[in-house]
């Protein structure tokens, strides 16, 4: 392998330090004995124990998980449907507009998404709470799901579906029995992506939440305003772990299964 030059080593070190030193400090101090966040007084896991006693925090964690599960599941269903229509319907009037509109929320500032949703919920008189956060999270995460799923569908051999129709399936059965099992890895990784996005969203959640539903990011954000406690560090460490596992899991699932499925499909389709 080519050796890195001194310049490259330096830029690599600085780059990664810039990204990860803050998080490492946070993780490190979550195991701090002392109550003072900036003074190291020895290793301890007592803040994790105290976290487990903190009902408000556990309540917030429960809300967050509920929101993430519901919103990512709905987003996966809607996003897959959108991707399927866009990839399969061929050309129809306004197709470019539609696909642009699916992807636009990806680049939309979160503040604007949050604000517009808030105005909508007030406008239709929907009480803000878990339901509104679920709706809001579904809105932005379904775009991510549809991006992931449509890139898989683009390489899907259409004659597989035609074969299913030919053998007596209705269009819905062909999708359920042939298309869905084959694109399942992409759907799963879309779900994991939506789940993690929902888990750590602060901006949109704080716009659309009500007094009854506080998610973890909101809880942490408001707690920090009263001063950083090691308990928050412990909680953040847990969240970092969950999100990291989620993201790595999503990419592993999609990558491994995609490679395998493509290989199988190619083998089956473009027979040697």
């Amino acid at each position: 392998m080519k050796r890195l030059s001194a310049f490259n080593v330096v830029s690599l070190t600085f780059g990664f330090a810039f990204l990860y030193v803050p998080m490492l400090i946070l993780i490190l101090f979550s195991f701090n004995e002392s109550k003072l966040v900036t003074v190291w007084a020895g290793f301890s896991t007592k803040w994790y124990g105290e976290l487990m006693q903190n009902d408000a925090m556990l309540q917030a964690a429960w809300v967050t998980i509920k929101v993430a599960v519901f919103s990512s599941t709905i987003a996966t269903v809607l996003g897959t449907m959108a991707a399927y229509v866009l990839v399969r319907s061929g050309r129809f009037l306004g197709r470019t507009l539609f696909s642009g509109m699916i992807y636009a929320p990806l680049v939309m500032p979160e503040v604007i998404t949050g604000l517009s949703l808030l105005l909508l919920f007030i406008g239709i008189g929907l009480d803000r709470g878990v339901l509104t956060i679920v709706l809001a999270h579904t809105t932005f995460s379904m775009c991510y799901v549809s991006v992931v799923v449509s890139s898989r569908l683009a390489t899907f051999d259409r004659s597989l579906e035609e074969a299913a129709l030919d053998l007596g399936c209705s269009a819905a059965e062909a999708f359920r029995l042939v298309t869905l099992p084959i694109i399942a890895p992409a759907v799963v990784s879309g779900w994991l992506l939506a789940f993690t996005l929902s888990l750590d969203d602060l901006v949109i959640a704080s716009f659309t939440t009500g007094p009854a539903a506080t998610t973890l990011p909101i809880k942490i954000f408001s707690a920090v305003r009263l001063g950083v406690s090691p308990e928050i560090n412990a909680l953040s460490t847990i969240m970092i772990t969950v999100v990291t596992v989620g993201v790595i899991g999503a990419s592993l699932v999609s990558k491994r299964a995609l490679v395998k499925q493509r290989q199988e499909e190619q083998d089956a389709v473009r027979a040697s």
């Binding site: 597989l160 035609e162 074969a163 129709l165 053998l167 007596g168 199988e264 089956a268 389709v269 040697s272």
Partner: protein
């Protein structure tokens, strides 16, 4: 059994099928043969139900099939890519259509086993499509499309992905299976040898139109147009003006100063009409001396020899600059070949050896 009545199919302003009328009979092995883009695949997809005709009607067993969706037609298709379901085993692939029908389990088992036996795939029932060879996949695709015992089986370039040896074997297997099951087969191919081998009748297509429908022998020996004669096999085409010399015999004046060619033709030609003489290279005899009793003989120089092993094709240049191909079986070893490059030879053929074509 199948009737295309004045069927036209347009994609935008491209006409894929142009006012096509054709009949396909029961238990027939029918081949649609043509270059790519001639509309043969479109015809097949209309039969399967994936496309519908822009104009005209298609009847299957007397019933107009336009309103019948693909999943309710007694028609199955074997796809060019095979389109095997990668997430299902060979067994499940074959059983797929039967399960959709709601057939009871024991019957499904019996039918799938029968199909596996027919296609000699018993050993591979539990494998996934990516775990078997190309030839085996092709047989799975065939078994899957035959499992529902369709009235009509469509085969879209079924042997395209196989190498030559395997393809020839499979062609005979296909014919065998077609005879055993009594299903009507319609095969789409651009490979004329394949069409000639497997089919009982061949339709030669070009630009969305059927040029000729006939048995393989008739297509080869009695093409109805220069296009068909040229598309199928190798042919010498000689253009000239026709004069009648007697009952069913004509003289073709093909070059000023050259002896007119004598041809027998069942179809009549008007005096001075332009026509093409189509003669297959294997019907042209090559010799050192002018044969005494030959109806037609021309002299020329050997320009090129294409050695195919069993056959040799001699390209002979006439003094007029025309090149005529003559083919002979290599009954002797190559070292004992009679003619070589630059040799002056005589080419001769009988009056019935060629066919006179008006267009």
């Amino acid at each position: 059994m199948i009737q295309f009545q004045n069927v036209t199919k347009r994609f935008g302003d491209f006409t894929a099928i142009d006012n096509l009328t054709i009949d396909i009979f029961e238990r027939e092995f029918f081949a649609l043969l043509g270059p790519s883009g001639c509309g043969k695949t479109t015809m097949m997809r209309m039969l399967a139900g994936f496309e519908s005709p822009t104009e005209g009607k298609i009847f299957l067993a007397g019933q107009d099939i336009a309103p019948v969706p693909p999943n309710q037609r007694a028609v199955n298709m074997m796809f060019q890519s095979y389109a095997l379901f990668p997430h299902l085993s060979v067994w499940e692939n074959i059983a797929f259509g039967l399960k959709r029908e709601g057939m009871p389990k024991p019957e499904i088992n019996a039918r799938v086993d029968e199909m596996l036996r027919l296609t000699r795939l018993e050993k591979f029932a539990r494998r996934r499509p990516h775990q078997i060879s190309g030839g085996q996949r092709q047989r799975v695709a065939l078994a899957r499309s035959l499992a529902k015992a369709p009235k009509l089986l469509l085969l879209d370039e079924p042997l395209g992905a196989l190498d030559r040896k395997l393809r020839e074997e499979t062609q005979f297997e296909l014919m065998d299976i077609q005879e055993k099951t009594g299903t009507t087969f319609v095969i789409v191919t651009h490979d004329q040898e394949e069409a000639m081998t497997v089919a009982s009748r061949v339709a030669v297509m070009d630009n969305g139109q059927v040029m000729q429908v006939a048995t393989p022998a008739d297509i080869y020996e009695a093409p109805n147009s220069v296009y068909v004669a040229d598309f199928i096999g190798d042919v010498n085409l000689i253009e000239g003006k026709v004069t009648a010399t007697g009952e069913g015999t004509f003289a073709l004046h093909w070059r000023d100063g050259a002896e007119p060619l004598r041809v027998k033709s069942p179809t009549g030609f008007s005096e001075g009409q332009t026509a093409h003489l189509a003669i297959r290279p294997e019907k042209v005899t090559i010799s050192a001396e002018r044969p005494a009793d030959a109806a037609n003989a021309v002299q020329g120089k050997v320009l090129d020899i294409a050695y195919l092993g069993n056959l040799s094709t001699y390209h002979v240049e006439l003094p007029t600059g025309d090149i005529i191909k003559a083919q002979t079986a290599n009954t002797r070893r190559i070292s004992r070949r009679d003619y070589t490059w630059e040799d002056t030879v005589w080419l001769s053929w009988t009056a019935t050896g060629g066919i006179l074509l008006a267009n």
